[in-house]
């Protein structure tokens, strides 16, 4: 074990609180009959998940989670519930409830067994001080532009003018995630853009006025 990756007690405690909130809200989402209430609990669950992201040093993902899920998805679901009054009367669980519980429990058991029986390679097993500094300390990089430069622990070195002391990628993930998205993962990134455009066009095509229906006034 090395100290750099040790989780402080406060963070650990906060994680359990966030997890409890998330799980409780998630259970409410799948059990509560009022679909609008379910959407609100879904938002609560999303916020809990984003708190977990923050505790896992993934600030960017956490903020994106709030922005996309709380700010858009759960609001759109609430919007749909308001528009379709059919669902506002409540949604009955189907007769396959017990079978569903069984399947879910089995899946959970499988996950738990797999998780606890696997020998994970952990960050806390790292010994190279440069690698540890690159992840959670401060480091200096030789050739910034290429990305192939050697990473050195900055804690003991006096940085020269040309060198930039960077925070470890787990300490300040936002810039690195951005760089990864447009360098190594540019192809998936563009693909996702295409997917979103396709979804946009698909949504418009589904919602466009049909033949014979009155043309709505204005845009929107």
């Amino acid at each position: 074990m090395n100290e750099a990756f040790e989780v402080p007690t406060v963070v650990s405690f906060a994680f359990w609180v966030a997890s409890a909130i998330t799980i409780a809200a998630a259970i409410m989402v799948v059990t509560v009959r009022d679909v609008f209430k379910a959407a609100v609990f879904l938002a609560g669950s999303f916020i809990g998940v984003s708190a977990i992201f923050f505790l896992l040093n993934a600030e960017f993902v956490g903020v994106v989670q709030i922005l996309v899920y709380v700010g858009a998805v759960s609001i759109l679901i609430a919007f749909s519930v308001m528009m379709i009054s059919d669902v506002s009367h409540g949604s009955q669980p189907s007769r396959a409830r017990y079978a569903s519980v069984t399947v879910s429990a089995l899946v959970l058991a499988a996950i738990a067994v797999t998780v606890y029986n696997t020998e994970w390679t952990l960050n806390s097993g790292l010994t190279d001080p440069d690698a540890i500094a690159g992840l959670s300390g401060t480091f200096i990089e030789d050739e910034i532009a290429s990305g192939e430069g050697r990473v050195r622990d900055a804690s003991g070195i006096q940085a020269s003018d040309s060198q930039v002391v960077q925070t470890g990628v787990l300490g300040d993930s936002t810039g690195t995630v951005g760089a990864l998205l447009v360098r190594e993962f540019v192809l998936p990134f563009e693909t996702v853009g295409l997917v979103i455009v396709a979804a946009l066009i698909g949504g418009l095509a589904l919602m466009r006025p049909r033949e014979g229906e009155p043309d709505p006034r204005g845009g929107g």
Partner: protein, 116 residues
């Protein structure tokens, strides 16, 4: 907070989502359960980023910047999954509206046309 614990939480949320997908009849509730599944997967991805080193780091030898950055691959995947999930939910809601327009219902059991 260890990797196992985070993965367990992720698994629990996945199981809850799975239960929702299997048991709910309303398509909107179904969509919400699907989002829970997505979230479970994203938590796992980010947890792996936080707790496990990327391939190059565990080996001996010089550490390059790319190897260090590769530790955040999980974050990148999380962002991609969230983006796709947003597109998916928008499209799903459009489908639900189309369904409601055509059938006047959003209950999934009422729209099984193939059975008849």
């Amino acid at each position: 907070m260890t990797l196992e614990n985070v993965l367990l939480v992720s698994g629990i949320i996945f199981a809850i989502g799975l239960y929702g997908v299997l048991s709910r009849r309303s398509t909107i509730a179904l969509l919400m359960s699907l989002e829970l599944l997505f979230n479970a997967v994203v938590i796992a991805a980010v947890a792996f980023s936080r707790f496990t080193p990327s391939a190059g780091l565990a080996d001996a030898g010089a550490v390059t910047a790319n190897e260090v950055r590769a530790a955040l691959t999980g974050h990148v995947f999380a962002v991609l999954v969230i983006s796709v999930a947003a597109a998916e939910s928008a499209l799903a809601l459009a489908l639900i509206f189309a369904l409601y327009r055509a059938k006047e219902t959003v209950e999934i059991t009422d729209v099984s046309e193939m059975k008849r």
